[in-house]
Amino acid sequence: MAERGGRKFLDPKVVARLVQQPMGTRLPMIGSVAGLHRSPHRGSSVEFAEYRKYAPGDDIRRVDWRVYARTDRFYVKEFEADTNLRCYLVLDCSGSMAFRGEQGDSKLDYAKRLIATLAYLFIHQGDAAGLICLSDRMVWDIPPKRNPRHLQAVFDVLEEVEARGETALIRSLHDVAEKVRQRALVMVFSDFFCPVEPLLECFQHLRFQKHDVVAFHLMDRLELEFPFDRPMRFVDLESPETLLSEPAVIRDQYLKAVRAHLEALREGCHRFAIELQSVATHEDYERVLRAFMRGRALKIR
């Protein structure tokens, strides 16, 4: 039951189409086993890196004897190291993520589809994928593992979490930055309905820890266009507050505020080298993922 439910967000056809394309990081990663990704350390792959003078303690097997024969000096030949990747998929479960537009999924469901697919793809290519769900009440934290069986745990949590409560993104992201010590790929799925400056500080914190950060910014078409013409009573998803309003009166100011928020976020992400993926939830998630993966395509060796 749980398995069936957990796989609700994973579409095998989509996965089958996307699995052809391996995914990488933009930064070197430190992994525990050999993998597809670049490591900051020298290793034993086939990719030549550099020559280095022999130092006592170096393995003499790595001395390049041909160079010694020509120059009468000891040089050590170094190769790039390839390692695996650890990916943290961070899902914002605040109340606003429950917003559902005229049709289709809520933002949370949409994010779950993305996460399930990405988790599958990462584990399938030998990387470790973990899940952190953030809300103001509780935090699910599934550490990244490479084991395919681990996927089930991820799916179970995805099935279980609901969107409720106020946004705790800022506090929680700082915690994540502190907790994840080794370099990792951190992907945040949220609508980022919070002040931009503190959010950017979180991102900066993550970047300081040398994580590769990707922000999936999810918004609904109604939130983006505000196409209402009749008086509406807006009921806040994160608090008991309601607001009766004439959309025609406030539309301009609303759109202006949204625009300013998006602009600040985009500019901040650019400043801290965060990859920002703006996603409108009426778009096809496969297309969104394909575009994302194309940007991170690995060179097939």
Binding site: S96, M97, A98, F99, R100, K107, D191, F193, C194, A215, M219, E223, L224, F228, R230, P231, M232, R233, F234, V235, D236, L237, E238, S239, E241, L243, L244, S245, E246, V249, I250, R251, D252, Q253, Y254, L255, K256, A257, V258, R259, H261, L262, L265, R266, E267, G268, C269, H270, R271, A273, I274, E275, L276, Q277, S278, V279, A280, V288, A291, G295
Partner: protein, 661 residues
């Protein structure tokens, strides 16, 4: 504020419709669970001032537009509101109705006369003051006050009916002022309806200043409302006027010549049937008219040379039926007396014969008198004075001036001595070279003394041999000139009379003028001109006779008519007169409405122009105004609800690829 359709004011609550719709809309709002509350709150905070103001303004404009519409369809009256806002209804409303003949012209596009339309419009406007004001009608024909009990009966009142009179607007206003002073009325308004005909309004008259000053000086408030009907006729219009009725005593059978003038507003050639008739007889003549004005002489056979009678000339119906009929009367031939003043008996005899050529014609009498014996002459008894002596001076000159002013005719011949009279001067006598004379080459052949005969034969002026002359100077107009352009005969109008000066004397050594080929017809014509005041005594303008209490009773020969008001033929005892529309009523000049308003000087005037028949209400302008206001409100509302100008980023830009470094 009063309305013609007050029931429609029940529609005023409709103006609350936008407010109700607004409230209803707010009530039937939709609820939605919303995530992006932070933007919503920020927008609500920021958009309060202007957007809310705009929203309320739109609501207000919608309400106002509906109010304007309801008020417009309820037909608000001008009275007591706009223009005269917040002023109490006057105690008395004096309706001054122009009843002149020109007001009988039809309204453009209708079959109602301007006078009837004016009466209708005024009666309608008066309805709203029925309970508060008293109405007094002053008509321009009688200039007497008529109390009007029920304003709606105004068009039916006999004192508002058609007349053939002229109107004297300043004199009528004067009568109103005197009436107001006499009756000590309270605040009053003068509602004046007229076609602004210039001859009636006399814009140059000094009386305007007097009467408006009097109105302004009245202790009570007086306001004037002007209802104008100055539109020219849109269809063809013509009028007939009898200028002269002449007896032709020598004709066989005896006949009367009726000279009439037909004026038209369409100068294209046309054939017009006119009907001319008297008691029992009637003749139809088809006239081929060309040009805007046509003079026609009609010979009417009469029973005897002494017969008297009357007749009328009638044109087909047109825009104004009042100016298509003219009446004339004729009586026994009038005695025309001529006086020859000369110191030369031979000349006296010639002139006497020229003035009275037939010894057995007792209607033409000529007397000769020596210049020294003119002291006791009663000049006004004469139709013509032929002066062949030195120009008069002193008392005689003054008496002759009066005679001319009264309509007499005077012919002065050269007498050899230089001199001047009434602005015409005779110079030093000149003699032509031996065996030569000054030929006369130019003279007025169309009209006047030297005009061609009825058979279109020219007077033989070129046969005149002038050997001596005294050149004429001064202000006269030359009727005939010599080859060297000096005047032979000069004419000057003095008052109603006519002065003719001749540069030649009647002595044989001066010229052969005494032979009579030119002299006799010219003298006879001048005699007729000078005698017109005797022969045309029976032709009067309507309004000229105002019966006094002296027992003079005028009765119409055809039906019951009032001699003061209507054209026609009237008898009083043995005297018979033809009363016609005053000639000035045919004039088309009108006073500009703005100028008419200016004539009132310090008195407040409101213009109420009437444009179309059927919209003829004083209140018409008001509902248009409300309708206009409604349109303005709707236009402003439309401008306010227009979406704001698209900014640089028209919609929220949400891009797939964000800040990838």
């Amino acid at each position: 504020m009063t309305f013609l359709e007050p029931l429609l004011l029940w529609g005023l609550p409709l103006a609350l419709l936008p407010v109700i719709i607004h409230l209803f809309n707010r009530l039937r709002h939709r609820s939605i669970d919303w995530g992006a509350m932070m933007f919503l709150l920020s927008a609500t905070r920021k958009s309060t001032r202007y957007a809310r103001l705009r929203q309320w303004l739109i609501l207000l404009l919608r309400v106002l537009a509906l109010v304007g519409l309801v008020l417009a369809v309820a037909r608000p009256l001008a009275g007591g509101w706009l223009g005269w806002m917040f002023q109490a209804a006057p105690d008395v409303i004096v309706i001054v109705l122009d009843r002149s003949a020109s007001m009988e012209a039809r309204m453009p596009g209708g079959n109602v006369s301007k006078r009837a339309e004016a009466a209708r419009v005024l009666a309608e406007a008066a309805q709203s003051y029925k309970d508060t004001s008293r109405f007094v009608l002053f008509d321009t024909a009688l200039r007497a006050a008529t109390e009007v009990g029920e304003p709606s009966a105004l068009p039916q009142l006999s004192t508002a009916g058609a007349t053939d009179t002229a109107a004297d607007i300043p004199a009528t206003l004067q009568a109103v002022v005197e009436w107001a002073q006499r009756n000590k009325v309270g605040h009053f308004e003068i509602w004046l309806a007229s076609d602004l005909q210039a001859s009636n309004w006399q814009p140059d008259s000094e009386q305007w200043k007097v009467v408006t000053a009097q109105i302004a000086a009245l202790p009570q408030t007086v306001r004037v409302r002007l209802l104008t009907f100055e539109q020219p006729p849109v269809t063809e219009s013509w009028s007939v006027q009898i200028t002269e009725v002449l007896r032709r005593p020598r004709a066989e059978p005896p006949e009367v010549e009726v000279v009439m003038m037909i004026e038209r507003n369409n100068p294209a050639p046309a054939i017009m049937p006119i009907s001319i008739g008297g008691e029992g007889t009637r003749a139809q003549v088809d006239l081929e008219l060309s040009g805007p004005s046509y003079r026609y002489r009609h010979k009417l056979p009469v029973e005897s040379a002494m017969a008297s009678g009357w007749g009328r000339v009638e044109l087909p119906a047109d825009d104004n039926p009042r100016d298509n009929v003219a009446y004339f009367v004729y009586g026994p031939p009038v005695l025309l007396r001529a006086l020859v003043v000369t110191d030369d008996p031979a000349v006296g005899r010639i002139l006497q014969l020229a003035a009275a050529p037939f010894a057995n014609d007792t209607n033409l009498v000529a007397e000769v008198v020596h210049p020294d014996r003119t002291a006791g002459v009663v000049w006004n008894d004469y139709a013509l004075v032929l002066w062949h002596a030195a120009p008069p001076g002193g008392a005689v000159a003054a008496a002759l001036h009066q005679y001319l002013e009264a309509g007499g005719a005077l012919w002065m011949f050269a007498h050899g001595q230089p001199g001047q009279f009434e602005g015409i001067a005779w110079g030093e006598a000149q003699a032509a070279e031996e065996g030569k004379s000054w030929p006369i080459t130019q003279w007025q052949r169309q009209e006047g003394l030297l005009a061609n005969t009825e058979e279109n034969l020219a007077l033989p002026l070129n046969d005149l041999e002038v050997r001596r002359r005294q050149p004429l100077g001064g202000t006269g107009i030359a009727l005939a000139s010599f080859e060297d352009r000096l005047a032979f005969l000069s004419r000057r109008v003095v008052g109603r009379g006519e002065l003719v000066a001749c540069s030649v004397g009647l002595w044989p050594e001066w010229s052969n003028l005494r032979e009579g080929w030119v002299l006799v017809p010219a003298v006879q014509r001048l005699l007729q001109t000078g005698g017109r005041r005797f022969t045309q005594a029976g032709m009067l303008s309507c309004g000229q006779i105002v019966p006094t209490g002296g027992g003079e009773i005028w009765t119409s020969v055809e039906g019951a008519k009032d001699v003061r008001l209507h054209a026609g033929v009237y008898r009083s005892g043995l005297r018979m007169v033809a009363v016609n529309r005053p000639p000035a009523e045919a004039a088309v000049e009108t006073v500009e409405p703005a100028k008419a308003r200016g004539l009132f000087g310090p008195v407040p005037v409101q213009m109420l122009g009437e444009r179309k028949q059927g919209e003829g209400r004083l209140q018409a302008e008001l509902w248009r105004m409300f309708l206009f206001a409604m349109l303005v409100f709707l236009l402003v509302e439309a401008l306010l609800i227009l979406p704001p100008k698209p900014e640089t980023a028209p919609a929220v830009r949400f891009q797939m690829k964000g800040g990838t470094p």
